[in-house]
Symmetry: C2
Subunit: 213 residues, 2 copies
C-alpha cells in the first residue's frame, strides 16, 4: 500500500522492490505477469529500472553473448516458461538490444510519471511477440502511443539529464544492494534474482521465510 | 521402470536422466530430495555423473570463482532453498572442491555398482552440514564406510582406467546433449538446467509440456 503522508511516500511492508533492465529476456516473464500477481497477492511492486549491463560489465559477467549453447538453452527455457504462464511469444526475439539504455531510460521516465508498468508490458509484448526491438522504432512510438503518451515528448525527456541522473541513481543503489542481474526482487534486504524466484520473494514478503509453516 | 530384457537395459518413459557433477553447490538440493521425489512421483532418475567443470572451462563459463557478489548470493540462495526443503546445512561450505574429479569418479563407480545415490546423499551431507569436503578425507572414507563400501577398494577402482573412460564417455555425451552445468535433467531431449527446474522436468516427463491442462 502506498501512502503519502506529509509529502513523504511511505512504503508499507506489503511492498516488493522489482529491479529490472529493459533488455533482459527473462524480465518478459515478470513484466507480463506482475499486474495479475499484484491483484491476487495484495502485494505492491515498486518498479526500479536500472542499468544491469553496467554492473554486469564491471563484474565481467557475460552470461550469453560469448556462450552460444547457453544462449540457445535460455531461449528454449524462456519459451517453455512463457507457455507455462500462458504468455504468447515468438523466439528468439532480437537480442541483444541496440538501444538498451534508451529503452530503460523511458522506463525511468515512466516511473516518474506513473505509466511504467503499462509501457513495459506493451513494449515487451512487441519485442517478444512481434519481433520489434524494445527501445527502437517502431516499438517505441507504437508502444507509447498505445498507452496514451506522446512519443516525441517522451523520447526527448528520456534523453534529458533529469532522467539520466535518476537512472544512474537507481543503478548506484542497485550496486549498493549487491544486485547483479534482472529481474531482481528485494524484500527487507533479501535479494531474489530471476523471474523464477518471484514466488520465493512473495513467500518471504508474506512469511519472512521460505520454510513451510 | 527399469526392465532388463535379453540383457539390454530398457528405460521406459517414466525415466529422467539426472546429470550431475560432485562439486556443484545447487546439486546438494537435488541429491538430498531425489529419493523422496522418486517415491512420490513414480518417476525413475538415471544418475549420470559427468565433468561439468571441463565443459564450463571450454565455454569460459565462470559463474562464481571471479564474481564474489554472485558467489555470496548463491550461498544465500542455496541456504534459503535448503530451509524451504527442510534440508540441514551450514554455509558457506568449503568451495570449490580440491578433489573435484575424484569425488565424481567415485560417483561413476557407484553407478556401475549400484550405490551412487546413497554415496551422493551421505557425501553431500558431510560436505554441506559438517564442512568436510566431498572427494577428500575424511569425507570419502566416512561416507563410503557408512554405505557399506570399503574405502580402500573404492578409491583404487575410482582412479582406475575403466572408471576414467566411463567418466569421459559421460562427459562426451553431456557435451553432445549441449549440457553446460549441474544439475541438468533431460527428458526426451529437453534440457532442464538447475535444481529449480526439477519440477518443470517432472511436468514435462508427465505431460510433455509445461502448459497447464
Amino acid at each position: 500500500m502506498r501512502n503519502v503522508v506529509l509529502g513523504v511516500t511511505m512504503w508499507a511492508n506489503d511492498t516488493i522492490d522489482f529491479w529490472f533492465t529493459v533488455g533482459s529476456t527473462y524480465t518478459y516473464l515478470t513484466v507480463s505477469r506482475l499486474n495479475e500477481i499484484e491483484t491476487a497477492s495484495g502485494i505492491r511492486f515498486r518498479w526500479r529500472p536500472f542499468n544491469a549491463r553496467a554492473i554486469m560489465q564491471e563484474m565481467n559477467n557475460v552470461p550469453f553473448a560469448t556462450k552460444p549453447i547457453k544462449l540457445a538453452y535460455m531461449w528454449r527455457d524462456v519459451e517453455r516458461r512463457a507457455l507455462k504462464y500462458g504468455l504468447p511469444l515468438s523466439v528468439p526475439a532480437p537480442y541483444p538490444l541496440k538501444n538498451f539504455d534508451l529503452a530503460s531510460r523511458v522506463a525511468v521516465l515512466g516511473v516518474l510519471e506513473g505509466w511504467c508498468p503499462n509501457y513495459m508490458q506493451v513494449s515487451y509484448r512487441r519485442w517478444f511477440v512481434e519481433g520489434k526491438e524494445a527501445g527502437a522504432e517502431p516499438n517505441l512510438s507504437e508502444s507509447l502511443t498505445e498507452i496514451g503518451q506522446d512519443p516525441n515528448r517522451v523520447i526527448v525527456e528520456a534523453n534529458a539529464e533529469t532522467v539520466g541522473r535518476a537512472y544512474d541513481e537507481n543503478t548506484n543503489e542497485a550496486r549498493r544492494l549487491k544486485i547483479f542481474g534482472s529481474p531482481t526482487f528485494v524484500v527487507d534486504g533479501e535479494l531474489f534474482w530471476g523471474d523464477d524466484r518471484l514466488d520465493d520473494a512473495i513467500a518471504w514478503r508474506t512469511n519472512g521465510t521460505l520454510q513451510p509453516a
